[in-house]
């Protein structure tokens, strides 16, 4: 399923060749549309010629329709598609500055590259100016990086913001674009003295096709967690059965102490159990709420290992399936759960004093007389103290798909 791990498929330079090809097509289309010409771009702001708006919104609608259609059809894993994280206020401030730079300089960065490549001197000056502005940013951002990193809402898409299906937003955006195109043609008629009848008639057919695809996206719907799991169940169930993803407490400890890795532990037990005892830095995310933290997990760097745990393995395995279905990479289960962790790392007095005679499956076997949380030596054991033998199972798989942003 797309997107593909192109570095693994084609190697380092093969992947770079793919990016050169994509860039080539990008540059060629910008040039063909007239975006190498600053007069054509600036005309947008004087309502004489709405080329910028037409090209941009047509492109956004076409790409959006194809992405959500292929995602609905199970051909594309949307979780692995890069969504620029939302930093609200720095984004608005940067956007306003970009608008000002656009009307003063006559380009945006992509179009100025194309302009410079076709030897427009104003384009070359703009590229030099943009490089200078970027240089200034790199030198000054340290003085207000608090603002730069503020209002971070993470991976947030419009359907989540409004609490509706992606298909509803897809239809709304398509309709909005069509209304804007109609308005743009009226403005061109009034301010640019253009005859809308001169525009090609096939655009009506294209508008109809876009609406039809948008409707199909809404009717098909985006795959649910259950459907996603069904698609990968055979392959992933094998990993569970071979116990390839259940890691020994000793391995978890070694991961935590590895300075090259970041470990995110998700404790999926009840709040009561979590308060009685949990591993230091384990995050409480009850099984029913695991799905809610997934966007955050996708925001983590590529060297992150995710470990889910419950008292035994039952709930943790369910949580693991949810994460696997949502394509969270490098996800493992703590073997034997928190009970096994305490078997290994709790001292003898603790074990003797608090062990329950009998425990149901996936229930805590040690019940301390107070909610200790992580205030127990066993919550942060020292790897030097215990000699542990285990077969290491974690193999860090570099993230497939997005590696950080359109302008990363």
């Amino acid at each position: 399923m797309a997107p593909y791990a192109i570095t693994e498929l084609f190697g380092h330079w093969g992947a770079n060749a793919v990016y050169v090809l994509i860039g080539f097509a990008f540059g060629a289309v910008l040039e063909m549309s007239g975006f190498g010409n600053s007069m054509k771009l600036a005309a947008q702001f004087y309502l004489k010629e709405m080329t910028v708006l037409k090209v941009m919104f047509t492109a956004i609608v076409v790409a959006m329709l194809l992405i959500f259609l292929t995602s609905a059809a199970g051909l594309l894993d949307f979780n692995l598609v890069w969504v620029p994280p939302t930093y609200l206020w720095p984004g608005i401030a940067g956007g306003l500055l970009m608008g000002v730079g656009f009307i003063i300089g006559g380009f945006c960065p992509g179009t100025s590259l194309v302009s410079a490549a076709t030897l427009k001197i104003d384009g070359i000056f703009f590229v030099l100016g943009a490089s200078f502005g970027i240089f200034l940013f790199g030198e000054t951002i340290q003085f207000y990086d608090g603002f730069f990193n503020s209002s971070n809402l993470g991976r947030l898409i419009l359907p989540d913001l409004f609490g509706v299906d992606a298909g509803v937003v897809v239809i709304a955006v398509t309709l909005m674009a069509l209304v804007m195109f109609w308005g743009a043609e009226q403005l061109e008629r009034i301010f640019g003295h253009k005859d809308p009848k001169a525009a090609p008639r096939w655009r009506y057919g294209a508008a109809g096709a876009a609406l039809a695809v948008a409707l199909a996206v809404l009717i098909l719907g985006q795959p649910t967690a259950e459907q996603r799991w069904q698609r990968i169940a055979a392959e992933k169930q094998l990993l569970l059965d071979q116990r390839a993803v259940q890691i020994h407490p000793g391995e978890l400890l070694s991961l935590i102490e590895d300075p090259h890795l970041q470990v995110v532990m998700l404790d999926v037990r009840t709040e009561t159990d979590y308060n009685l005892f949990h591993i230091l830095d384990a995050r409480h995310a009850p099984l029913s709420a695991v799905a809610e933290v997934i966007p955050e997990l996708h925001d983590q760097p590529a060297n992150t290992v995710f470990v889910v745990m419950s008292n035994d393995e039952v709930a943790a395995t369910e949580a693991w399936k949810v994460l696997a279905a949502e394509s969270v990479p490098n996800t493992y289960i703590l073997e034997g759960g928190v009970n096994r962790w305490l078997d290994v790392f709790a001292n003898e007095e603790f074990r003797a004093e608090y062990q329950k005679a009998s425990a149901q499956p996936d229930q805590l076997r040690y019940i301390p007389n107070a909610a200790l949380g992580s205030r127990l030596p066993a919550a942060e054991p020292n790897a030097g103290q215990v000699e542990l033998e285990f077969i290491p199972k974690v193999q860090l798989e570099m993230k497939r798909g997005p590696s950080g942003g359109g302008c990363g």
């Binding site: 770079n16 990016y19 050169v20 090809l21 994509i22 080539f24 097509a25 990008f26 289309v29 040039e31 549309s33 007239g34 010409n37 007069m39 054509k40 600036a42 702001f45 004087y46 010629e49 080329t51 941009m56 047509t58 609608v61 076409v62 992405i67 620029p84 939302t86 720095p90 608005i92 401030a93 940067g94 956007g95 306003l96 500055l97 970009m98 730079g101 656009f102 003063i104 300089g105 945006c108 960065p109 992509g110 590259l113 076709t118 427009k120 104003d122 000056f125 590229v127 943009a130 490089s131 502005g133 970027i134 790199g138 030198e139 809402l153 947030l156 997005p402 950080g404 359109g406 302008c407």
Partner: protein, 191 residues
């Protein structure tokens, strides 16, 4: 439609010669351009998971030059270290290859359509020199804003817009807002 004013710096004879040899072909219909651009953007997201971008590539080229001149300074500045700290090569990144391709594609399309030509596009009332100064200043503001917003018109408005990122849509409206807010005061510059 378009005002293609030749630069004064280049001898008129040479220009006349070029113009006689080949006439620049007209640009394609904007809706067709948009459909093609949408397909390219979709292909990028579908195959690689990454969108399109431009300012990120320029950024890394700038940092590469900085790293040649002042490597210790780069290693001490947090924002630059992430791209070029220690042995990191800032150019070894997919976005740089997108940028290279953009330049190539722009040139080849311009060449094929006879639009590669040394000239300065400017409003009828503006001198060539003023246009150059304004292009530099505008570029600097654009470049600064693009990094502050974590992406430019390509990376945020276009790529982020198509995957329905809330931040990207906000940025897109901010760009148009900033442009239209100032357009009135610059009307003599462009018209």
């Amino acid at each position: 439609m378009t005002t293609q004013t030749p630069s004064r710096r280049f001898p008129r004879q040479a220009e006349a010669h070029v113009a006689a040899r080949r006439e620049a072909k007209p640009y394609i219909n904007p809706y067709l351009g948009g459909i093609l651009l949408g397909i390219v953007l979709f292909a990028a997201l579908f195959i690689t998971g990454n969108g399109l971008g431009a300012s990120g590539g320029i950024n890394r080229i700038v940092v590469f030059v900085q790293d040649l001149i002042a490597p210790t300074h780069v290693d001490r500045t947090a924002y630059l270290t992430s791209m070029a700290g220690g042995d990191l090569n800032p150019l070894d990144n997919w976005i740089v290859f997108i940028t290279l391709g953009t330049l190539l594609g722009g040139f080849v399309s311009g060449w094929a359509n006879h639009r590669v030509k040394v000239e300065t596009n400017r409003g009828p009332q503006v001198s060539v020199r003023l246009r150059w100064v304004m292009a530099f200043i505008g570029g600097a503001i654009m470049g600064y804003g693009a990094r502050l917003a974590r992406g430019c018109t390509s990376g945020q408005a276009l790529s982020g817009g198509s995957v329905l990122s809330v931040g990207s849509w906000t940025i897109m409206f901010a760009i148009f807002g900033g442009g239209y807010a100032l357009a009135y005061f610059l009307r003599r510059f462009w018209n």
